[in-house]
């Protein structure tokens, strides 16, 4: 019977092409908006380093104002960044398998003798483990040595996109670049990489692209590089020199560690607590000891990376889908009632209510399938439009490109959503048409 119902469905769809187009359009539009919003939501709410969720930790310590917490809304949380001196002190621990302290900066990047204009470039000032700890891929070369971190040595890793711009994409390891008029040697070219959200530095927006240049951490003191992200302080301090800034209570350094097992976790936590206790005993602060090692998924939650606005947006998208489906219910009812005389004939000729219900449900299924496919295509178009809003380096995979990429999960979600939502929307009209007394239409036909 299913194939017969399918034949009838296509025949009925052809019978009222205008109404059919309206229904499919309504479903498609609702699905498209949902796909776009869900894809965006997935992009900004997912854990982009889930495979390391159990070994990777953001390090935070609470040396904040004894009178009030850093965050009034979440008073239990320490500031999300460390002071320079705490970062340097904790970095000395050899417990973590990998450890990174870092901050964002901005510099002017250029190459001598090249036609390329000097460019203001987002730069990460970081220790060498940045690449290993976050599984950042390399196209050419690799990271620098331990010695280079605090030497500091004039070495740099650039992004694949920057390498395209500066060197036409060839292996540029060993080539020279200038950063704020200081010469650096390229030791590595980072391959396409853009975790969404940008979990490793939550100061600059969850859709922030990774930096195009990376230089050893020691350069911040040597070149007096301030953070291009948030720098927060609570203590009135007389900061006159960069050294004053480095010694201040201002927090501006992000720290992450990789602790391969529970033992390493516990040892490192004890190390942090000892350090904090020493600082407290030394009279530096009087807050309760509150050091935290936070996994990436919890880190995203703690820092409100997935904001209420995003959730509201998803809610609105579903509300929009509901409106589209309600319209579809109305259109389906109109369409089915329009065909009620024919249904009356079918009932007279022996179709049961169940058979009429199934016939119309198959028709709804056909509408929902076409609507879903169209919605998927439309969603893809909308996401492409979104990508256009986020101007990114086209060679940088992931990120904003991920926004325009409808992945398998989104496809399955969209199809499932369309199918079940439209079927749900079609249940009432299909049931309703089966309940109509056939006799009332037989005379009128």
């Amino acid at each position: 019977m299913f194939s017969y119902y399918l034949q009838l469905a296509f025949r009925n769809l052809r019978r009222n092409p205008g109404l059919t187009a309206l229904m499919i359009g309504a479903v498609a539009l609702g699905i498209a908006v949902c796909v776009m919003t869900l894809t965006m939501y997935r992009a900004i709410s997912g854990n982009p380093i889930w495979w390391k969720n159990d070994v990777l930790y953001a390090v935070t310590m609470d040396f904040w104002d004894p009178q009030q917490p850093n965050n009034e809304d979440k008073p239990e949380l320490p500031p999300e960044q460390l002071t320079y001196r705490d970062a340097m002190a904790v970095y000395r621990s050899d417990i973590p398998k990998h450890k990174v302290i870092m901050h964002k900066a901005v510099g002017i990047l250029s190459v001598d003798g090249q036609q390329v204009k000097p460019e203001r470039t987002a730069t990460r000032v970081t220790t060498k483990d940045f690449f290993a700890i976050f599984d950042v891929p390399f196209q050419y070369g690799g990271t620098w040595t331990d010695a280079a971190d605090f030497g500091p040595e004039p070495v740099m890793v650039i992004s694949r996109g920057m390498n395209e711009k500066l060197f036409g994409g060839v292996n540029s390891v060993g080539r020279r670049v200038r950063w704020n008029d200081h010469e650096f040697r390229v030791v590595g070219v980072r391959d396409n990489w853009m975790p969404l959200p940008a979990f490793y530095d939550v100061n600059n927006g969850s859709l922030e692209e990774p930096e195009d240049a990376y230089i050893p951490f020691g350069w911040n003191a040597a070149l007096e590089i301030y953070s291009a992200g948030n720098t927060n302080g609570w203590k009135p301090e007389d900061i006159k020199t960069f050294q004053d800034f480095l010694n201040s209570e201002d927090v501006w350094i992000q720290m992450w560690v990789e602790l391969p097992d529970a033992a390493a976790h516990d040892r490192f936590k004890a190390f942090l607590d000892n350090y904090a206790t020493q600082q407290k005993q030394g009279g530096r602060h009087s807050r309760p000891i509150n050091n935290r090692l936070t996994k990436p998924d919890q880190w995203l939650v703690d820092n409100g990376v997935v904001g209420n606005d995003d959730r509201v947006l998803v809610g609105l998208a579903f509300a929009f889908l509901a409106v589209c489906l309600l319209n579809t219910v109305g259109l389906l009812l109109a369409k089915f009632l329009n065909n009620a005389p024919i249904t009356g004939v079918r009932r007279a000729l022996g179709a049961s209510r169940r058979q009429i219900f199934m016939q119309h449900l198959v028709e709804v299924g056909v509408i929902s399938s076409i609507g879903a496919l169209l919605g998927l295509a439309l969603g893809g178009l909308l996401l492409t439009g979104l990508r256009a809003l986020y101007t990114v380096d086209p060679t940088d995979a992931g990120g904003a490109q991920a926004l325009a990429h409808v992945d398998v999960t989104s496809v399955v979600t969209a199809l499932g959503l369309a199918f079940f939502a439209t079927i749900a929307a079609g249940l009432y009209p299909a049931w309703r048409i089966g309940r109509i007394p056939p006799a009332s239409y037989l005379k009128a036909q």
């Binding site: 025949r11 079918r346 009932r347 022996g350 049961s352 006799a439």
Partner: protein, 245 residues
């Protein structure tokens, strides 16, 4: 074949009750050809709908081919309708976007018959009504008479025990009406019981028996002399119409 006892059917719209059938009793025997007549609004169509299991009734009992249909589920009523009853409507009620072959196929589809079996039944039904050459025409490409013959083929394809014809010649000219009537008589002679609602005295006279309905009840008044009366030919089966008390 058909036994109705004390059937009543009331339509309620807000506070207004309309008694379409009142204590209606009728027995139609196997192979009978019964004409149902009566003025507009007398309850003829309601009787046909109840007889055809298209509508339920409020009180009374109804046995179709020996089976009490009073409390059957929709599924069972539909099955019975599909297998034992054929409908012929005044306005043909062919499905406009199906060709004649597919129109005749409709009742067979709900019987889960094999494709070959269905094809054979359709072709043979169309042959009986003389439309073999038009099986792939759309209804709109046929005349009124041809459309009614197609509708008759659709009713016959399921090999029903009885046919319910509601003004079968109401929408065709007199020549076509006679042809349709000849066809119905042929079908009746093959053993199919026929109940036909009509306003046409000439057609009513061609039935074995005439049942006249007034105000939802069978009237004693016989407005038309039927075939049986005029030729003094005995009815094939029980012919006694039970009028209400």
């Amino acid at each position: 074949m058909l036994e109705m006892h004390g059937i009543s059917k009331i339509y309620r719209v807000d506070l207004i009750e309309t008694h379409a059938l009142r204590d209606f009793s009728l027995t139609v025997g196997d192979g009978e050809f019964v004409a149902v007549t009566g003025p507009s609004g007398s309850g003829k169509t309601t009787f046909m709908n109840v007889a055809g299991l298209l509508e339920t009734f409020d009180t009374g009992t109804y046995k179709l081919d020996g089976e009490n249909v009073s409390r059957l589920s929709d599924e069972a009523r539909s099955k019975l309708r599909n297998e034992k009853i054929g409908f012929i409507f005044q306005s043909f009620n062919l499905i406009p976007d199906l060709d004649i072959f597919d129109n005749v196929d409709v009742p067979l589809r709900y019987r889960s018959l094999a494709k070959k079996d269905r094809e054979q039944r359709i072709k043979s039904a169309l042959e009986v009504v003389g439309l073999s050459s038009r099986m792939h025409h759309m209804p709109s490409q046929l005349s009124g008479g041809q459309q009614q013959r197609a509708a008759i083929a659709r009713a016959l394809a399921g090999d029903p025990r009885f046919l319910l014809a509601d003004e079968p010649t109401g929408n065709v000219d007199s020549l076509m009406a006679r042809q349709v009537m000849d066809l119905l008589e042929q079908i009746n002679e093959m053993g199919t019981t026929i109940i036909m609602v009509t306003h046409d005295p000439e057609l009513a006279r061609r039935a074995h028996r005439n049942v006249h309905i007034v105000d939802g009840q069978i009237s004693d008044f016989k407005p038309y002399e039927t075939r049986e009366n005029s030729l003094m030919k005995p009815a094939p089966a029980a012919v006694a119409a039970m009028s209400p008390a």
